[in-house]
């Protein structure tokens, strides 16, 4: 049932990954168990270190919102995204137009080839 799956070029064996998962989990747990347990709860030792500044009470103040994620990627591809977003206009007649256009192209190819 676990078995190997041959792709024509190589194979996939899930049991090797399951073994890896258990070994990695064991190592991670062992590493964790080596940590110190003598810290004092409720003191500064328990606090998040935030570049030496006081940590804001509301998590919303220190969160990077989703729309800011991959800012550099989006900035680098601005011209591409300007065109792609404009293409997704949200206008129903555009949707229908592209559908009819693609259908016409496929039909034309059918006649030609």
């Amino acid at each position: 049932m676990l078995g190997k799956i041959y792709t024509g070029f190589g194979f996939w064996d899930v049991s090797a990954w399951i073994a890896f998962f258990f070994i990695a989990s064991f190592y991670a747990l062992w590493l964790r168990s080596m940590g110190r347990r003598d810290y004092k709860k409720g003191t500064d030792q328990d606090e998040i270190y935030w570049s030496g500044n006081p940590v804001p009470e509301d998590g919303a103040d220190i969160t990077v919102p989703a729309s800011s994620a991959y800012w550099g990627y989006k900035k680098a591809f601005t011209p591409f995204y300007n065109a792609l977003v404009a293409f997704h206009s949200g206008i129903t007649t555009d949707y229908a137009g592209w559908f009819v256009f693609v259908s016409a192209v496929i039909c034309a190819l059918a006649v030609i080839f």
Partner: protein, 519 residues
């Protein structure tokens, strides 16, 4: 009478009965309606499973509604019975089972997700009709019946997408889908009418036996390909998809995902079974490959920049459909050459089919998890979410499983199907694999973004009172999670019992024809 011989009828009749019984049961109160909802969905799943098992054990099943045998030719003089005829091979049974799993999971989830809204008897009726349409499309052996079932599924979808009719966005999404679906339906009807006009058949096996490759036939094929490619969400005809998936209730979205896969099933059934060896020599494999490449790339690049969770996952649906189109295009191109089919074509088909079922499961789970977040927070905007893993541990773990699977992270099932696709399409051209790999990297980037912004990070004050989704919703998600983990841990069993028989059925055009014409 052996009741098991009526499984093909029962699997469609049961949810159909459920659809019409729901208003009556609703008179008995909420409990009775919910009981009917879950019981009918569960029984449909059991029947679909038994049907799949029967097909694996005994081969293709033929079933004629209202006729004692398939060779009974009434009205007299007709070569084939003009009735609703089901021809269920391993591919149809595989698709039917996928639909039934998604329908059951969505029903379980919807019980509490939809609790508190009015008009739920209409919701449940439409939900069952959508299931009927999808199952009928999977099992039918008749082109006109296929059109009828696609219309049943479409009409039910319009109602379900616009179910929250006080939201203008939901009405707009439904209208957009309705307009495109009706154009698609007209194209299919013209194609089916042309087939009937030319060959005097509507039976798929009979058409496949008689089909030639005249200009009219090529145009019929072109109409069916473009109509069904739109229904399954191929770029650039895919723009309805994020709108519809985002605005419909999440329990419905997970079923809509599977219905789009049934349209893809219809597409490959037409190209491989109906036109088969005739289609492979034409431009069609390259249409598949080009649409697949565009869908993968443009779908995922649009997804990366979204910050509304269901729209983001909706754009990923387009890119995932691209993988399958690419795999089936490569498989179709190799169909005429036994050596190419053995070398890479059959592997591509197995990859495409495995990805179909994987996609239905992990995308269903992703939409349900997104629904659970919406249920708990009242927003779909990722900018407003954060730190929810502390409050919603089950949803977090289930989302993580689905996100890892769609991103193709080993050892999850999504990795296995993607690996089969990468390595087989590489033989045709390395660029195909390169685009697929880039798509996978961007997919991972998108889901890292969702996971980080919704579940991780510091807790926001406004979500301190958030609770885990109710048990019924978690149970619905667990159905998908269970299947994903099963496919992940037992890929060899899945390929041998579910995927390979379906792939063999897909390439065995003679077997499909012979089951009806030479029983």
């Amino acid at each position: 009478m052996n009741w098991s011989q009526h499984l093909p009828a029962l699997v469609v009749a049961f949810p159909l009965l459920g659809a019409f019984a729901t208003p009556l049961f609703s008179l008995g109160g909420k409990f009775l309606r919910n009981l009917l909802f879950v019981a009918v969905s569960l029984v449909t799943l059991i029947i679909a499973f038994l049907l799949w098992r029967n097909v694996l054990l005994h081969g293709t099943i033929l079933y004629v509604m209202g006729g004692e045998s398939i060779s009974l030719t009434l009205p007299s003089g007709f070569a084939f019975p003009v009735r609703i005829m089901f021809e269920i091979d391993a591919l149809s049974a595989f698709m039917g089972l996928t639909v039934a799993i998604a329908s059951f999971a969505g029903a379980l989830f919807s019980l509490q997700y939809m609790n508190g809204f009015s008009g739920l008897h209409r919701f449940v009726s439409l939900y069952f009709l959508l299931t009927v349409g999808a199952l009928g499309m999977s099992l039918t052996g008749d082109m006109f019946n296929f059109f009828v079932f696609i219309e049943i599924a479409s009409v039910a979808s319009f109602g379900l997408i616009a179910f929250w009719r006080d939201k203008p966005e939901a009405i707009e999404a439904s209208f957009k889908y309705m307009l495109l679906s009706q154009i698609s339906a007209m194209l299919i009807l013209i194609a089916v009418g042309s087939i009937y006009g030319k060959y005097n058949f509507l039976n798929m096996a009979a058409i496949a036996d008689a089909i030639q490759m005249t200009t009219v036939d090529k145009l019929i094929l072109a109409l069916l390909v473009s109509a069904l490619a739109m229904k399954c969400g191929a770029f650039p005809m895919s723009m309805w998809m994020p709108d519809s998936y985002a605005e419909s209730p999440s329990g419905v979205t997970c079923l809509l995902v599977t219905v789009s896969q049934v349209s893809l099933y219809g597409l490959i059934r037409v190209c491989f079974t109906l036109f088969g060896t005739v289609a492979q020599n034409s431009f069609i494999p390259w249409i598949f490959i080009v649409l697949g490449m565009m869908s993968m790339f443009f779908g995922v690049t649009m997804a990366v920049i979204q910050h509304e969770i269901k729209r983001l996952i909706g754009y990923h649906s387009i890119s995932q459909v691209g993988y399958m189109l690419l795999a089936f295009g490569v498989g179709l191109s190799a169909l005429h050459d036994p050596r190419a089919l053995a070398d890479y074509g059959f592997t591509a088909l197995k990859g495409g089919l495995f990805h179909m079922v994987n996609y239905s499961m992990y995308k269903g789970l992703l939409f349900l998890a997104a629904g659970a977040l919406y249920y708990a927070t009242g927003t779909r905007d990722l900018d407003r979410m954060g730190g929810l893993a502390r409050r919603m541990p089950y949803t977090t773990v289930l989302f993580l499983i689905a996100a890892a699977a769609i991103s193709g992270i080993p050892p999850f099932n999504g990795f296995v199907s993607k690996l089969l696709i990468y390595e087989s399409v590489f033989t045709v051209h390395p660029v195909l694999s390169a685009v697929a790999l880039v798509t996978s990297v961007l997919t991972l980037a998108s889901f890292v973004k969702i996971f980080q912004t919704a579940f991780l990070g510091p807790e926001k004050n406004q979500w301190k009172s958030v609770r885990e989704a109710p048990a019924g919703m978690v149970l619905g998600m667990m159905v998908f999670g269970f299947v994903i983990v099963g496919f992940t841990l037992f890929p060899s069993w899945t390929i041998s019992n579910l995927i390979e028989p379906a792939a063999k059925a897909l390439v065995d055009q003679a077997g499909y024809i012979g089951a009806v014409l030479h029983p």
